[in-house]
Amino acid sequence: MSSCPNFQTGKKRKSEFKLVAHKQLIKNFKGDILKKMEISLGLILVLIILIGVLGIYQMHTKPIMGIEAFESSISIPWRLLVAVYVFFVVSTTGLCIVASLGEVFGFSKLEPIVKEGLLMALVTILVGLMTIGLEIEQVTRGYYAMIGHVNPKSVMFWMIMFYVLYVVFLVVEMWFYFYDDLLKQKESGGLKGWVARILTIPKATDTKDFARVIGFVTVFTAVIAHSNLGALFGVNYLPFWHGPLLPVYFILSAIVSGAALTVIGAYFADRIRGVRIEGKRYEAIQMLRLILGFSIVVTIFFTTWKFVVKAYPNSTLLSREAIEVYLTGDFAFNFWVMEVIVGLLAPLILLAIPQIGRKTEGVFVASLLTIIGIFFLRIDLVMGGLALKLISGTAFPSLVFHPFELVATAGFMALTILLYCIGYKLLPMGVEG
C-alpha cells in the first residue's frame, strides 16, 4: 500500500485534484481498516485455536476433570470429533470433485473457482487428518496404522492409506496447477515472493497438462478413499449404517458439501478483498448453484428411501428402532430441523427461486445453510448410528457434548479458516493473474 496520495497532479484543476486525493485517502483508509480487520480476525482465530488445544489436552490427560465426568463418553465410542473428521474429509472429497470438474473434466465454467477449491481441499484434508490423529486415545502410536503392524483386512487401514495417498497426489496436483502463476509471483516482494521462489526451485514445463493428469488420479483416489470411509461405517452390523449404499451416499453428500464450501470460500475471499463477484466468477457461482441444487435433490431422494426402507414394518425390529431415534427420539431435532429443513429444504428453495438464486448472496446463504445441515448430518450419522448400542452394561446414552469436545471442534474450525486465509495470502490466488 502506498502511503501518500499522488501529488504530481498539481497542474490540474483544484477541485479535480481534491477529488483524486480524497479517493486515494478513502482507499488508504479502507486498506487500513481491512488490514486491522485481518489482524483482529487472525488474533481471534489464534485464540480459538489455543482454547481448542487446551480442550484436546484435557481430553487426553484429564488434568481438570477426572474420568468420572466422562462416563457418558464411554457409552458412545465415536463422538463429536469423529463426526468433525468425517465432515472434513467429506468436504475435501467434495471440493476435490468440484474443482476437478473444472480442471479435469472440462466444465470450463468452473475454472475460475478451481484454485479456491483446491486450496480448501488441501486445508480440509490436513485439518481432518489432524482431527482423527488427535481423537484416537494413543496419539503417539498413531503411526502404527501405517507401518509395522497393519491389518489389511481392516477397512480403517485402507482409509488411512488412501487418504495419505490422496494428500500426496493433491499436493503434487496443486503444485503443477499453481506453477505458472508462481513464476509470475516470484517478482513480488515480501513473504509472497519468498514462497514463490522456494516453490519454483524444481522446474517444470507443460504444467497445466500434468495438473490435469494428476488431477484425474487425485479425484479418483479421493472417490475411492471416501467411499471406503462409507464402507468403514457400512460393514458394521449397526442397523442405521449397515448396507452397501452408504459409500454411495457418502460420495453424494460430498458433492453437496463440496459445492457449498466452494461457494462460501469464493464469496468470502472476494468479500475480504473487496472485489465484486461478476463476469466469469459469477458464471462459476451460478454453475455451482446448479450442481448444489441437483445434488441436494438427489440427497433428499436418497435420504427418503433410506428412511422408508429402514422404517418399513417388514424391516427388522432393530432397524426400525434405529430409525425411531431420528424420527422421534434423541436426534429428532437434529434430524428434522437441522438436517431436513436447514440443510436440505431451505437451501433448495433459496436456490430454486430465481430472484434469490441469481444473486451471489442468495447462493452464499443457501450454501451456508447446507453446510450447517451437513455438519449436523455428520453428527447424526456417527453418533446417532451408535445411539442404540449398549456397551458393557452402560445405559442408553443421551446426546450430551462435553465442553472440551466443543472447544476442540471450534479450534479445528478456526484452524481451517486460518490456514485458508494464510494459503490465500501466500499463494497466487488472484483471478486477475
Binding site: F70, E71, P77, Q138, G142, M156, F157, T394, A395
Partner: protein, 249 residues
C-alpha cells in the same frame, strides 16, 4: 542356469512346499489343541454380582464406573402373547452396587418372569473386532481366545463400534480398549477364570471343549445350548443354557 532349468527348479519346489504344508497340518490335527468355551446356565444365575466384583478386582477395572468386562442383565417380563404386548424391564449390574436389591426392582419383579443373564466377551471364532482392528492389536490365541495387545492398541475404538455384543470398551485409565480375556493369565496356570470361581451357584462353567471328559463337554452334550445373535455368524465361544428370546443382544 538357463530358463528351462530355472522353471524345472521352481516346478520341483512347489510340490515340496505343498508336502511340507500338508505335514504341518497333519501334525496340528494330531496334537489336539485346547479349545476353551464357557457355558452359562441362565436358570442358575441369581444376579448376585459376585462375578462382576471378582472380575473387576482381578483385572484392574475401576469398580465404580459402569463398565465391566462381565456384567449381568436382569430381565423382568410381564409376559403377554403375542409378545409385542409384553412389558420388559431391564436392569444392568456392572458396578459393586447391586440394582437388583433396589426396592423398585424387587417390587416390579415380584409377580413377573424374572431372570438374570451374565454377559461377557463371546470370544467369537469370526470376531468382528479382530477383523476391523487397523493395527492387529487383537488376535486369536491358539486356544481360540481373542486377546488385546495393549501395547499396540492405538485407541481408535473401531472394535467397540464393531462388536455386536457391546463387550469391549475403552479402559478409562489405560486409554486403550479392554475386554474379557477369559482370565488368560489364570487359565494358563491351570486356574479357573475369576468369575467362574466367584459364582456361588455354578452358573458359569469354563473348560476345554476338545476334552471329552470336561464338564463343558458334558453340559453341551446334555443340554440344548444357544448363542447370542447367531444371525451375525460370529460363532461365539460363550454358550447359554435356557436363554429367553427377550435377550436380544
Amino acid at each position: 542356469m538357463n530358463r528351462r532349468d530355472f522353471l524345472k527348479l521352481i516346478a520341483g519346489l512347489l510340490p515340496l512346499t505343498a508336502v511340507t504344508k500338508a505335514l504341518e497340518n497333519v501334525e496340528n490335527t494330531e496334537s489336539t489343541e485346547k479349545s476353551y468355551v464357557m457355558v452359562i446356565d441362565v436358570n442358575k444365575c441369581i444376579g448376585c454380582g459376585n462375578c462382576v466384583v471378582a472380575c473387576k478386582t482381578e483385572n484392574d477395572v475401576p469398580l465404580d464406573i459402569p463398565i465391566s468386562r462381565t456384567w449381568i442383565e436382569g430381565y423382568s417380563v410381564d409376559e403377554e402373547i403375542p409378545v409385542s404386548k409384553s412389558e420388559v424391564r431391564k436392569q444392568v449390574l456392572s458396578t459393586s452396587k447391586n440394582p437388583f436389591l433396589d426396592d423398585d426392582w424387587i417390587k416390579n419383579s415380584k409377580d413377573s418372569k424374572t431372570f438374570y443373564v451374565p454377559k461377557l466377551c463371546n470370544h467369537c471364532v469370526n470376531a468382528p473386532c479382530v477383523n476391523v482392528c487397523p493395527v492387529y492389536a487383537r488376535f486369536y490365541t491358539k486356544e481360540g481366545i481373542v486377546l488385546v495387545d495393549k501395547e499396540t492398541c492405538i485407541g481408535c475404538k473401531y472394535c467397540i463400534v464393531a462388536c455386536p455384543y457391546g463387550a469391549t470398551f475403552l479402559h478409562p485409565e489405560e486409554e486403550v480398549t479392554d475386554k474379557c480375556t477369559f482370565c488368560y493369565h489364570r487359565i494358563k496356570r491351570g486356574l479357573q477364570p475369576a468369575c467362574v470361581l466367584a459364582c456361588p451357584t455354578g452358573a458359569r462353567v469354563f473348560g476345554d471343549i476338545n476334552d471329552e471328559n470336561s464338564e463343558v463337554s458334558k453340559l453341551v452334550r446334555e443340554h440344548r445350548v444357544s448363542v447370542l445373535r447367531p444371525e451375525e455368524g460370529t460363532f461365539p465361544r460363550v454358550l447359554y443354557i435356557g436363554l429367553d428370546s427377550y435377550v436380544v443382544e
